[in-house]
């Protein structure tokens, strides 16, 4: 899962990025409206945290441009102006939720999880695929009740596959959703993560669809 954080205040942007990264997501940061618009328009993000008061292009405009271009990723608006006028304007521009500053990081993460879950059509915070359960609230993965220890990259790969259980996920899809933009990407490492996951998970759970990518078998 890859998240775009848009915030112009450097300290807050760093705190947000750190908090979101600690929650198991890949994070990209934009500091102004123009960069934010470009990144959201060209990279496949699973969710966006968008501050409204941005230099160069305000958040509402950025959001409207994304929606007009057909970008449907869930967007959580972050605003200092705690009035309903702005909230309604934000929601009407295409936002999915809002949070007013100052906020608690836990609340932001909870909202973010809910948005990603809803976007994938999942009703529960726990994703289940056969014997494997992934709790998005605390990043815990269990196999038949037994806790599994995963590295952050392994977790991201598994989480993305579980959010898209039953679908074929291409290798490049995986690369784009588990790494931030500035990361040195190497699609071969995806195979390494898949290999490690296969050793930790019940055999046959991750199928290879030749020439296309991977798929989680036995979806519920």
């Amino acid at each position: 899962m890859r998240i775009l954080v848009v915030e112009d205040e450097p300290t807050l942007a760093a705190q947000l990025a750190e908090g979101v990264r600690e929650a198991g997501y890949a994070v990209d940061v934009a500091h102004n409206g123009l960069d934010a618009h470009f990144m959201g328009d060209t990279e496949p993000f699973d969710a966006v945290v968008l501050d409204l008061g941005l230099p160069q292009m305000d958040g509402i405009t950025v959001l409207k441009k994304w929606r007009a271009a057909g970008r449907t990723m869930p967007v959580l608006i972050l605003t200092a102006r705690d009035n309903w006028h702005e909230k309604v304007a934000g929601i009407d521009a295409g936002a999915d939720d809002y949070l007013t500053k100052p906020f608690h990081m836990e609340e932001l993460l909870a909202r973010l999880r809910a948005l990603i879950r809803r976007a994938g059509g999942h009703a529960s915070a726990e994703l289940v695929c056969g014997p494997v359960t992934l709790d998005t609230r605390n990043n815990r993965v269990t196999v038949e009740g037994r806790a599994l220890t995963l590295t952050s990259h392994e977790y991201r790969v598994l989480a993305y596959l579980m959010h898209h259980a039953g679908e074929v996920v291409s290798r490049s899809d995986l690369v784009e959703h588990i790494y931030a933009q500035d990361f040195d990407r190497d699609s071969n490492t995806v195979e390494v993560f898949i290999g490690r996951l296969r050793k930790k998970l019940p055999p046959g759970l991750i199928e290879t669809v030749r020439g296309m990518g991977y798929r989680l078998a036995n979806p519920q």
């Binding site: 009035n83 009407d92 939720d97 500053k101 809910a114």
Partner: protein
Amino acid sequence: MTLATLRGSLRFRLLLGTLFWIAATILVAGWGLGNMFRQHVELQFHAELKTHLDQLTAQLTLDGQGQPTLVMPLSDPRLNKPFAGLYWQIDGLASPGLPAIPALMRSRSLWDQVLRVPADTPASGEVHQHRITGPQGEMLGMAERSVRIDALPLRLIVAADEGLMIEPVARFNKELWLALGVLGLGLALAALVQVFVGLAPLRKLRAALGRVHRGEAQRMEGTFPAEIMPLVEEFNTVLARNAEVVERARTQAGNLAHALKTPLSVLANAAGGKDDALARLVTAHVEMARRQVDYHLARAQAAAAVRLPGARTPLEPVVDGLVRTMRRIHAGRNLELVAQPMPASLAFRGDAQDLQEMLGNLLDNASKWASRRVEIDAGIEQDRLVIRVDDDGKGIAAEQREAMLRRGVRADQQVPGSGLGLAIVDDLARMYGGQVVLANSPLGGLRATLILPAAQ
């Protein structure tokens, strides 16, 4: 209407002034015209007497016995009809060897009467005028002159009833005053019409101001006469400047919020997750600061808006926007948000953002507490806009409701969001002269009733 308010009425003052001048002009004109006519008739009367006297003089001669006689009788038929009002008489004047003989000759109209004339002997060629009492007690105008025919001194007298002169003057005066009366009445009516027509723009002005006051218009609409138009334009400028000031105050409040809250966020995040004394202190005070900022911002914005006349906000679009927003925000909770159909004419006499703020907080609060359903219903009751928000949650105990409307009290610290919600709503509503009433809902939870001034 009392005398004092009458005296203060522009219409009354204009009418009074005009009517006074109309009356004065007509009186002076009537008096002047009457006088002129009477003088004219008098002159004519005396000219006629003189003509008769000249005729009498011309016809006078002496007969064979040396007695005066007329060559031809005078032509006016009134002279032959007894007491017809026109008379002549010839007196013999006293001279050496002759006594004065009154009424040596006289017109038939005098019958057996003699005109009693004052003793007076006009010099030759002079004509004297007198007023005397006639044969029937009436006043006569009289002209006389002295002539001497063959050394016989005679006095020639012609007299006429003054009634002949007074009667046409009286008739003329009667008709004159009738005509002037009609003229005065017409002028008064015209003045009345003029005052009403002339002051009509003032009524229009009042109507336009009324629309601004009732919130039906943001500025004074319509064209007015050149004398009033500058006033209207000035007033509209003031209204526009007011709106501008409010907008600027809003923007500044928003900027202040942004400037304050971003650092607060940084502080809160830095302290979050740590469990030492400093972190707890920072967290607690960041929360307190946030509430203070929210509370005073909301108040400042509302205070600015309440002073802005002419604000009118239709209710339906605001409700629609908020319901859309609530559905999105609470999308994960499977809530049923139902806005009962409401007439499009329902409107709030106040600012749109304030209505959004009040209704948004009520709806958000209801949505947080509801288990499945939130209903919104609105209508006009006793000329006020009444909006009810019902939820099917746990509700609030009656003794806690008062406290909920006070600043910063939360019924349950676990529910995320501002504890100021209901208090801000009540504060805002009170600034507009309205209020929030909390009660049990037929749905089982809380019913929050928002009462606000309605706009036509």
